[in-house]
């Protein structure tokens, strides 16, 4: 998957776990927390959905990388580049 596709995958996950959020205005460099109503349960869900859908493991010490869309995509790119779309 290319970065643009990883971004799309994250958007799909967010649509599922936070269906009442407007994601069209999401600014990639800004923290999710400042734009969306996400709590620690929701962050766990991002990690769990990545594991369920793409078999990607995010260890707990790396959760900080999932701070914003930009940092999430950057962190996931090497982990997901071999995954076919």
């Amino acid at each position: 998957m290319a970065p643009a596709e990883i971004r799309e995958a994250i958007i799909e996950i967010l649509e599922d776990i936070a269906p009442d959020e407007d994601l069209s205005t999401l600014e990639d460099p800004k923290a999710f927390r400042d734009q969306l109503e996400l709590d620690s349960m929701d962050f766990l869900d991002i990690v769990m959905e990545l594991r369920k859908r793409y078999r990607v493991q995010v260890p707990e010490e790396d959760y900080g990388h999932l701070n914003s869309m930009a940092s999430t995509v950057e962190y996931l790119t090497p982990k997901m580049e071999d995954i076919a779309v």
């Binding site: 776990i17 959020e21 709590d39 620690s40 349960m41």
Partner: protein
């Protein structure tokens, strides 16, 4: 081999099951009863549908709300707001001698009631509100602080303190006399800040949604399969043994049966401390009317009453029940969409009861006591709402013995043990507690409990 074995198909067990099955675990829920729901199940008698527990679903927030426990559980379980089909209450009241406080799903009403009846307590109430946090701001230590002590620093009129405590204790306090600050905060949020709602079809709608979802995710549910023992080796549960002797093996066990009830199943535990078990239980007296309650002027959703200035939240001292306080609920008095209305008028009255005395009665004395205490409960209640007795066409009643028989909770305790185990751990490294004894009670609370303990202990491996 299951990833997780869940004991109990009540709200908390089903919610935990959905979380785990959604993330591809092999899950099995074992339920001793022949149906789901536990403390909040439903049944049919004399051609009518009854709910066991449901007066009100607490924590009501409108569609689209992103904050609060209801929004959180809908997200976590991937339900749409519409699927719970909640209609808001018409309005409720706290009624003490010569003093009434009305409240509804907008806390402004309660604030203005306090301003007009307790003008010198307005600042104190504001101060109290500022101290209250949510589910996630609570650790074990701050959870267990005394509510009466903290309220004492804000509110100086003991009548207002007792009036505010009355509904919150009724809907979620396992402790006699005082209340854990954490529990108080959660209930304050659930009832005064968010509020009451009900699905037109009652609790069965919520339960059916939960079980349908669980099964569609591949979760297994076995009814009439009670867990008799948990086989333990070296601080680790190996398997569970069912009442019929069948052995089921799993990596971990999540139990909603209660803390002491679960410890008793563990074969490395020879004795449990039954003093830790909850003591507060209820009778529920249900009256079916030949007309809508509003036709009699009974137009509130829930009335919490107490017949003196001092509110006594304790197990009855010398009788089967205590009639000084009670809850009167009419499931008709919700703002159902499209003008729908329940066919029958219904009035449900909850009164505090004492398990041992009910349990000791022989069968004929038990039947006599049920009839007598139904009458007394209604007699007590009509001091606070219009008298509906000549309109009653059918009645049903259940007692602590009924609750115990169908949920296996010690003493038929509705809100479990007074001391909660917020982190859900036990002495075994792969046995966890959810539901009542973990600490979050009520329909929304127990669903939340199942979700958060599943997340904390059963998902990350």
């Amino acid at each position: 081999m299951y990833d997780t074995i869940i004991i109990g198909a009540g709200m908390s067990g089903l919610a935990a099951g959905i979380r785990l099955a959604h993330y591809d675990q092999k899950v099995c829920i074992l339920e001793r009863h022949y149906t789901i729901g536990g403390l909040n199940s439903f049944y049919r008698v004399g051609g009518r549908d009854y709910d066991v527990g449901l007066h009100a679903v607490t924590n009501f927030t409108e569609k689209g709300a992103k904050k609060g426990p209801l929004a959180k559980i809908l997200r976590q379980l991937r339900f749409k707001w519409e699927e719970f089909s909640l209609s808001p209450q018409a309005g409720s009241r706290i009624s003490f001698p010569g003093m009434d406080l009305k409240f509804d799903n907008d806390i402004e009403l309660l604030r203005s009631e306090i301003a007009s009846h307790f003008p010198d307590q307005v600042d104190g109430f504001r101060k109290l509100e500022a101290l209250i946090g949510g589910y996630d701001q609570l650790d074990q230590e701050s959870f267990e602080q005394s509510t009466r002590e903290i309220m004492g620093t804000c509110i100086t009129d003991p009548l207002l303190t007792d009036m505010l405590l009355c509904p919150l204790m009724w809907y979620g306090n396992a402790r006699e006399h005082d209340m854990d600050w954490g529990q108080f905060s959660i209930m304050f949020e659930s009832i005064y800040r968010e509020g009451f709602a009900r699905p037109f079809k009652g609790v069965r709608l919520i339960l059916k949604n939960l079980v349908k979802r669980y099964r569609s995710l591949g979760g297994e549910l076995k009814l009439r399969k009670g867990v008799k023992r948990i086989h333990v080796q070296d601080g680790h549960a190996q398997a569970v043994e069912l009442d019929d002797g069948e052995i089921i093996v799993g990596k971990r066990v999540l139990s909603s049966a209660g803390r002491i009830e679960t410890l008793r199943m563990c074969d490395d535990v020879s004795e449990v401390d039954t003093r830790q078990v909850g003591k507060l239980t209820f009778i529920e007296s249900i009256s079916i009317l030949d007309r809508q309650p509003t036709d009699l002027g009974l137009d509130e959703t829930i009335v919490f009453y107490n017949d003196s200035d001092k509110f006594h939240w304790e197990r009855p001292q010398d009788d089967l029940c205590d009639m000084r306080t009670g809850v009167i609920c009419s499931p008709n008095n919700y703002e159902y969409s499209d003008g729908q209305q329940l066919d029958d008028g219904v009035v449900r009255i909850t009164s505090i009861a004492e398990f041992d005395r009910w349990n000791q009665l022989d069968e004929s004395a038990y039947q006599v006591a049920k009839a007598r205490w139904y009458d007394r409960a209604v007699e007590s209640a009509v001091r606070f709402v219009p008298d509906f007795r000549s309109q009653v066409i059918a009645t049903d009643m259940f007692t602590p013995k009924t609750i115990r028989r169908f949920t296996w909770h010690d003493n038929g305790a509705v809100y479990g043990a007074p001391d909660k185990k917020l982190d859900g751990t036990t002495h075994l490294d792969n046995v966890f507690l959810c539901g009542t004894d973990q600490g979050f009670v009520g329909i929304i609370g127990s669903i939340m409990s199942g979700i958060s303990i599943a997340n904390q202990h059963c998902l990350r491996d």
